[in-house]
């Protein structure tokens, strides 16, 4: 396995002793209050949350519900999220829909890395959150995609109903509205990993 596929956090981006500062807070406080910057930030966040293009990327059963969400009855396009892009370069949000296996994990990670910033990930379904029904005996199932990529929104269910996925998109929009549209901070990346590692060691 080449080193770039190593799934442990990169020491450069891993949290050091000091708490990482949110890039938006790193500005000069006076500058932060500047009307123009605030307005531009507002416009940026407004556009980001209203044009969340998902990646056309399905893994398993949940992908069918993802398709149902985009299709006739539920119509994700109402929220501006109906443009499913097949190329990760043009996608904003990766809906990890379906079981992530050990064979697939490097590819999921790679696809996530191919997306341009700011990027978001929605963990859709029990398998993606923590291995779901396969977490106990499913030797080939990754016990949570947050061991591989940082996740913004978790949607429980097996599979989650389309309403739940729509709710997740709304939650993501709310999250962008409240705390800005930037991707997850380094200290939030793979936060679940520590927990899992601790459990694994015990």
């Amino acid at each position: 396995m080449p080193p770039d596929n190593k799934l442990s956090p990169d020491p450069a981006t891993a949290p050091s002793g000091a708490p990482a500062i949110h890039p938006r807070l790193a500005l000069d406080p006076e500058l932060e209050q500047s009307i123009i910057l605030t307005k531009i930030d507002w416009l940026k966040d407004w556009s980001r949350r209203n044009a969340l293009w998902p990646m056309a990327f399905g893994l398993a059963c949940c992908a069918m519900e993802m398709m149902a969400t985009a299709a006739t009855k539920y119509d994700l396009d109402r929220f501006g999220s109906g443009v499913f892009r097949a190329s990760p370069r043009q996608a904003d949000v990766m809906i990890v829909a379906g079981t992530v296996t050990h064979k697939m994990a490097p590819r999921v990670k790679r696809l996530y890395e191919q997306m341009p910033d700011p990027k978001y990930a929605i963990a859709m379904g029990a398998c993606v959150i923590g291995g779901g029904p396969y977490s106990r005996f499913g030797y080939h199932v990754v016990q949570g995609v947050d061991l591989v990529i940082p996740v913004d929104i978790y949607v429980p269910g097996c599979p989650p109903r389309p309403e739940a996925l729509i709710d997740a998109i709304r939650k993501l929009q709310e999250r962008i509205r409240v705390r800005g549209g930037d991707s997850l901070r380094p200290d939030e990346v793979l936060r679940n990993r520590e927990r899992i590692l601790a459990m694994s060691a015990s």
Partner: protein, 204 residues
């Protein structure tokens, strides 16, 4: 084959209870006795689980005969499975792995008589090959039924049955560097795979 014969009989399929003879299995047994002597080690023609146990070294010849025979015309290998039978105690030897072939014929299936018999056994001819667990080598039937290719690769992948005499026997489902063959009864869950921790079943 002598090693396998020394292992205890499997828990399944061995007890022939009374009942009508399965026509397909009986015909296959007759055919093999005539064409490939010594191929059939054990023939169970009655009961719920009619099957033929074939000697591993005669498997390809037997498969070829079953496939080419105009009467039986077993043109499709429906499934290749393998069952792990580890020895109860070390004294019993290495244990056995049983490779099970379910054969079916589409060429022969026309006709009401077959349809009636099909209800009984679903029309399958079951072949078994028993090999010792520590040296599970079975000749490949890929040359006879091309569809066996992927099934054999899967059985190598999950059960560790080595199919000999075929082009490449690579893993098919699991990554190439996966530790061990998970469906073996004594397989242990890995702790991590390429940096991703795995919580063993006991931890969950």
């Amino acid at each position: 084959m002598s090693d396998a014969a020394a292992t205890p009989p499997p828990a399944t399929g061995a007890a022939p209870d009374a009942g009508p003879r399965d026509a397909v299995t009986a015909a296959a047994a007759r055919l093999l006795a005539a064409k490939v002597p010594g191929a059939v080690v054990e023939a169970v023609e009655t009961g719920r689980h009619p099957s033929l146990t074939i000697a591993a070294d005669k498997l390809v010849a037997a498969a070829r005969v079953l496939h080419d025979d105009p009467e039986l015309a077993m043109d499709c290998c429906h499934l290749v499975s393998a069952v792990d039978w580890p020895a109860k105690t070390p004294a019993d030897g290495p244990g056995a792995i049983e490779v099970v072939y379910h054969l079916v014929s589409y060429a022969r299936k026309q006709g009401a008589a077959y349809r009636r018999s099909a209800v009984k056994n679903d029309g399958f001819l079951v072949l078994r090959v028993r090999v010792p667990r520590d040296k599970p080598e079975v000749p490949s039937v890929m040359g006879v039924w091309v569809g066996a290719d992927w099934h054999e690769r899967e059985m190598w992948d999950l059960m560790g049955v080595k199919f000999t005499g075929r082009a490449s026997l690579r893993r098919i489902l699991l990554p190439e560097d996966w530790p061990g063959h998970p469906l073996r009864k004594d397989w242990a869950y890995p702790v991590e795979y390429h940096g991703i921790p795995i919580i063993p079943p006991e931890g969950r």
